[in-house]
Amino acid sequence: MKKSSLFASASVLGLGILLNVLGASQADAAANCIKGDRKAPYTLGWANIYSVPTWMKQTQGTIEAEVEQLKKEGLVDKLVVTDAQGDSNVQIQQIQSMIDANVDAIILIAGSSTAPARVLADACAKGIAIINFDSLVDTKDVTAKVNTDSHQWGEQATKFMVDALGGKGKILILNGPAGVSVSDDRRAGGNDLLKANPNIQILAETNTAYNVAPAQEAVTSLLFAHPEIDGILSFGGALSAGAVLALDKQGREQVPITGENARQFLELWKEKGLKSWATMQPNWLGAFAAYTAVQALEGKDVPAFVKVPLPIIDNSNIDEYLARAKDFPADGYIYSPYDRELFAKLLAQK
């Protein structure tokens, strides 16, 4: 009995290794979905879920800039853009249209983490390179997924706060909307560190939309309730700007605060002389997705998941960011610089 089960598990193990080897050799041949029958210059489809927010416009800007570069290199001849206006059903229909029009690659920010799975499987079966970034779909039928790590975002922000307060102090925590995965993941990322530092006392937590006004309102009412606040652990850039404005309006002293690369927040940071830390969801994820799609079509191996490290802004490099501020919209995001060298490095990581 024992012997036979041992044998069974050994053979399963062997089978597993065999499958792994097979899988690996397949991955070496070409990236997922790529059949090698498509030739440059390629047509790229950019299936956006919603084009109105500033972050999306800037992201589209990086895609267009990258496509211009790729056109000069003779690798791309056309970029088609769709906007689903927030409707996942429309996004599916537009992806279907891209398949019908026989585009060579689709880059995608998904409106639903499940809904596009079947239409993407159709696209993948037709040899279309699919690069999914920012909002991801639960499916294996894409060439690559590209994103930063929200959990790490929360962990690093919390680490900054614990260090800034020397492990002891009273803080407010500002979250994005409840039930949104990005917001939940960032908060969860900070959990372990907060538990390990019981001297960091959480006075209150807020859940607001990622906008300045509601955050400012929420923090203002908390300021009345808490005369002594040592730090603000904010899990969103607009939330941080709202908190800084709330402190300022009340004439309260600014405290260490975490945030994102929203231009408004970075300018307040400098103006008020804050001790702060910020990271970002880089807009150039769009440009990187376009670049990756072409690399995959050219037969290069592309990892199934590219984890983009979070660029960090702190008091040592804030001036570099603000020096470039005039190149970005007033309500926009000052993203970290990027180039082909960085893209190649990201694709090389395993």
């Binding site: 853009v81 769709t82 927030g86 229909q93 249209s97 983490s113 499940t114 079947r118 639960d138």
Partner: protein, 323 residues
């Protein structure tokens, strides 16, 4: 605009067709616009004439066609529903959680249908018996139903059997076949006493009541059928996407009203035809694909969509004035 004299599919054929032709007058302009778009689409995308191309196109249209019918039935009785999208979401999450679960395909489908019929009927009873404004009741209902959908499935997930997805939303025009059946059933329903009462109850409820028409029953039945069409659309969306998403239906509320109004259905009840609403929904769906193939940028699409909708509604009005 439309003639409300309703004869069941008649023995005297010529009279039947004459009446049908008269009822088409208001939507003839829309039919022409839709036909124009169909031709343009076929011209731009030759794959439309292949089996799978036609199948994929009708699948994009199908859920919108069902919710347009769901809204049109209510508007014909003088009602309206703001809960259409929430019901689609509920149908989708119920399907994605029960069909691969303990209930199986038959049980899960039955549950989805019963949920739609039941919620629709309860809404209808509240609106009709308590004499409350439909817009308020269905707005409140949409919050409750959307909440229920989130309780069933808090985050996108669930599953549908792959064979069912391939059957309904694969490379065969099965969805179009279902739509044809639904339309035939609608024709049959119009020949029943309740169906005959539908237009009368919408156009002139008091007069109809005094003539012995079961006005309340006709209106409650309309709400129940409307609910069934919505959860049915939800089941299809679940099959089409292979999963459930608790907010997938949101945009259907507004689109269903747009399709019905585009199709010549009046807000005051008793005015318009189902074929108009179907044509309206077809136009909304066609526009998305045609503008993609024409290479419109997203901003140009916003503008063009608005212009086409205004145009399709305005053309018949201009023609009537010119007469």
């Amino acid at each position: 605009m439309s003639n409300t004299t309703l004869s069941p599919p008649a023995r005297s054929g010529s009279l039947y067709w004459a009446i049908q032709a008269k009822r088409n007058i208001g939507v003839r302009g829309l039919f022409l616009v839709v036909l124009g778009f169909m031709v343009a689409y076929g011209f731009l995308f030759h794959g439309l004439f292949t089996g799978s191309g036609f199948a994929k196109f009708t699948q994009s249209w199908f859920p919108l066609a069902l919710v347009a019918m769901a809204q049109a039935i209510l508007m014909l009785t003088g009602g309206i529903s703001l809960a259409i999208g929430a019901l689609v979401s509920l149908g989708a999450v119920l399907a994605a959680t029960t069909i691969t679960g303990p209930l199986g395909v038959a049980g899960g489908t039955a549950l989805v249908c019963l949920a739609g019929l039941g919620i629709g009927a309860v809404t209808g009873i509240i609106v009709v018996r308590l004499r409350l404004p439909a817009i308020v009741v269905t707005l409140a209902g949409s919050f409750i139903i959307a909440g229920a959908a989130l309780l069933v499935l808090p985050r996108p997930g669930g599953a549908m059997p792959p064979w069912l997805s391939d059957l309904l939303a694969g490379n065969t025009p099965a969805a179009f076949g279902v739509l044809v059946v639904v339309v035939l059933l609608w024709k049959l329903y119009l020949a029943t006493p309740l169906g005959l009462s539908l237009y009368a109850a919408g156009e002139n409820p008091v007069g109809a009541y005094r003539s012995g028409v079961p006005v309340d029953a006709a209106r409650i039945a309309a709400y129940a059928i409307s609910g069934l069409l919505c959860t049915g659309a939800g089941l299809f969306v679940a099959a089409q996407t292979g999963s459930g998403d608790p907010i997938i239906g949101n945009s259907f509320t507004l689109n269903s009203i747009a399709a019905a109004v585009l199709g010549g259905i009046g807000f005051l009840g008793g005015q318009g035809t189902m074929r108009g609403a179907l044509a309206g929904s077809l136009l909304l769906s066609l526009m998305i694909s045609v503008m993609f193939f024409l290479g419109f940028t997203p901003v140009a699409q916003y503008v063009a969509q608005g212009l086409i909708i205004i145009g399709a509604v305005a053309i018949p009005q201009f023609r009537m004035r010119a007469r």
